[in-house]
């Protein structure tokens, strides 16, 4: 199976998601009180995740992603607002609400001296009580590709396989409807990352709602039906990847490399292009120009001319990363108008 970017719609019910929300977060606020003052980690955040939908929380370090996830998971008491999991209030009835969710905390390590089979078996028993436990363990190990490793101790596994053990634990339980993944691929190698992505992607067929946090833009692009961008504890954008991309006032970008070593003709041409388009960024030996919609056709000619003058230039559509950086990088934390 190949992993590719999600096909995205523009309406709310994307990715074949059910209309009924599995997770409803309303006005969720978390204030940490400290000696030097209060810090608002989450500021009145609203969020909904439906069955079969994958929603990615994107944001820089300290934006409040993990705080949000920990409140949803019942690990942290909110200062205000409401969290409903399958209609059950997490603050008032945590044990009932937790019947419907599973969590993989950030940088969580399974127990080193238990085998893969023991982990899945005991956690499944804790959740469901154990009718047909052998069948359930076989199914979970098969689904996560761990069958051949079942008798190994966790300390004998690679980082990627350990992550799979946590996913297998999280999938145990017939009532699980919501999966919370806090940076599920941080610290694993690129190959293992993709295998975890494939595993998460396959969970759509089980109609499980997934809320994940990530630093990796490509992870959100590949997996998420919807993206919620958080910055400074506030939700600054929400939508499909396409919707968020469209909020940028330009559609393409022209990147010129090796600007310190351009031929005189190429340098002259680049100067004229800088007057025509806006310079979005200049870092090291690279210059990036924003190409607004009306110029998308004419820029192809500019690109050909730059190449003819010996410059190394590429033209590409704007990415989620461009939109994300414009949001979290701007002073107000808002998208440019």
């Amino acid at each position: 199976m190949t992993v590719g970017p999600r096909e995205r719609g523009t309406d709310a019910g994307v990715g074949g998601a059910d209309p009924d929300p599995v997770l409803e977060v309303a006005g969720l606020t978390k204030i940490y009180r400290g000696r030097t003052g209060n810090k608002v980690a989450n500021d009145a955040i609203d969020l909904t995740v439906r069955a079969g939908e994958i929603v990615a929380l994107l944001g820089p370090n300290g934006a409040g992603k993990t705080t949000l996830l920990r409140q949803v998971a019942g690990q942290l008491l909110p200062s205000g607002g409401r969290v409903l999991v399958s209609g059950v209030d997490m603050v008032r009835h945590p044990l009932r609400a937790k019947e419907f969710l599973s969590v993989i905390p950030q940088e969580c390590e399974p127990k080193r001296d238990l085998t893969v089979d023991e982990h899945v078996r005991y956690f499944a028993l804790l959740k469901d009580g154990g009718a047909n436990i052998d069948t359930e363990v076989d199914r979970l190990l098969g689904e996560t590709g761990l069958s051949e490793h079942r008798h190994l101790l966790v300390r004998e596994l690679s980082g990627g396989l350990r992550r799979r053990v946590l996913i297998a634990i999280a999938l145990a339980g017939a009532r699980t409807r919501l999966l919370l993944l806090d940076e599920p691929t941080t610290g694993v190698d690129p190959e293992a990352r993709r295998s975890v992505w494939r595993l998460i992607d396959r969970l759509r067929s089980r109609r499980i709602a997934i809320l994940l946090t990530t630093h990796y833009i490509d992870e959100a692009e590949y997996l998420a039906d919807r993206v919620v961008v958080i910055n400074g504890g506030r939700r600054v954008a929400e939508g499909t990847v396409e919707e968020i991309r469209r909020r940028l006032p330009y559609r393409g970008r022209l990147e010129v490399r090796g600007i310190d070593h351009l031929t005189p003709a190429a340098r002259e041409l680049l100067r004229s292009l800088e007057r025509k388009y806006r310079v979005a960024a200049r870092f090291g030996n690279v210059e990036r120009l924003e190409i607004p919609d009306p110029f998308l056709e004419s820029v192809v000619t500019d690109l050909a001319e730059l190449t003819r003058c010996g410059a190394l230039a590429t033209l590409s559509p704007v990415s989620l990363e461009d939109a994300y950086l414009s949001m979290v990088g701007s002073e107000e934390g808002e998208l440019p108008a």
């Binding site: 019942g74 009932r96 599973s102 390590e109 399974p110 127990k111 238990l114 959740k127 919370l180």
Partner: protein, 247 residues
């Protein structure tokens, strides 16, 4: 959540954690056998025969209480460091299930250690232990163990890092060793410190076990009632999830 389900979950979690403990069997067995022999020998060198029961009780209190307080707190510290604690908190499992099962994963080793201590005291140091006392003694050991469970939980719950938890556990251990007289009778303390000593379950545990070994029914009942009160207090605190969910 029903009591039946909680009990079932406690059994499941205990089996899981015992499996983990038994993979460090050599270490635990070493502790089980060497600890009581060493401490009994050391403490009996200059102790008059009449006070050997108190030394025996002190050793058992170390095994059933202080070391368990440490083991529970440090287990929670390790779980926090590996973030598996967060996973437990997000399970539909009461904090009582987690606490009791974690503590129970060390209980067989503590009990074994206590029995080795009793056997050594009986055979090597002239402390008579008739078999008829055994049922009462076993029930007593379990009550003593339960009555200090909450101390380990509170240290583990309030400490944020393993290092912090380790420091708290050592501090509490020192406090308990000096202010809860287990190796000597509470009566030899100055009156003010006696009042402080009676605030700790370990003091009552010591009085309780001495009462059992001396066949003093009234003392056993009185100290047993206080210990039961401590058990109730801890269970209420743990069940209410003190620091289970962070604030």
């Amino acid at each position: 959540m029903s009591l039946g389900r909680s009990l079932r979950q406690t059994v499941i979690a205990t089996r899981m954690l015992l499996k983990e403990s038994t993979r460090e069997l050599g270490l635990l067995l070493g502790f089980t056998v060497l600890f009581p022999i060493g401490i009994l020998f050391f403490l009996n060198v200059q102790v008059p025969a009449a006070e050997r029961v108190q030394v025996l009780v002190g050793t058992i209190m170390m095994e059933m209480s202080l070391l368990n307080v440490n083991a529970l707190a440090q287990s929670m510290g390790q779980d926090k460091e590996r973030k598996i604690f967060d996973l437990w908190v997000s399970l539909p499992v009461s904090p009582v299930v987690y606490t009791v099962s974690t503590a129970m994963s060390f209980l067989p080793f503590s009990l074994a250690s206590a029995f080795v201590t009793l056997a050594v005291a009986d055979m090597g140091f002239g402390v008579a232990l008739p078999l008829v006392l055994m049922p009462e003694l076993i029930a007593g050991l379990l009550l003593v163990w339960l009555s200090t469970l909450g101390i380990g939980f509170l240290i583990g719950a309030y400490g944020r890092t393993p290092r912090q938890i380790n420091t708290y556990a050592q501090l509490v251990g020192i406090l308990l060793t000096f202010f809860a007289p287990v190796f000597y009778p509470v009566s030899i303390l100055p009156p003010v410190l006696q009042g402080v000593a009676y605030l700790w379950p370990l003091t009552w545990g010591s009085v309780f076990l001495v009462g059992i070994l001396h066949g003093d029914g009234l003392t056993v009942l009185r100290a047993g009632a206080v210990l039961a009160g401590f058990v109730l207090l801890w269970f209420v605190l743990i069940a209410r999830g003190v620091r289970w969910r962070q604030v």
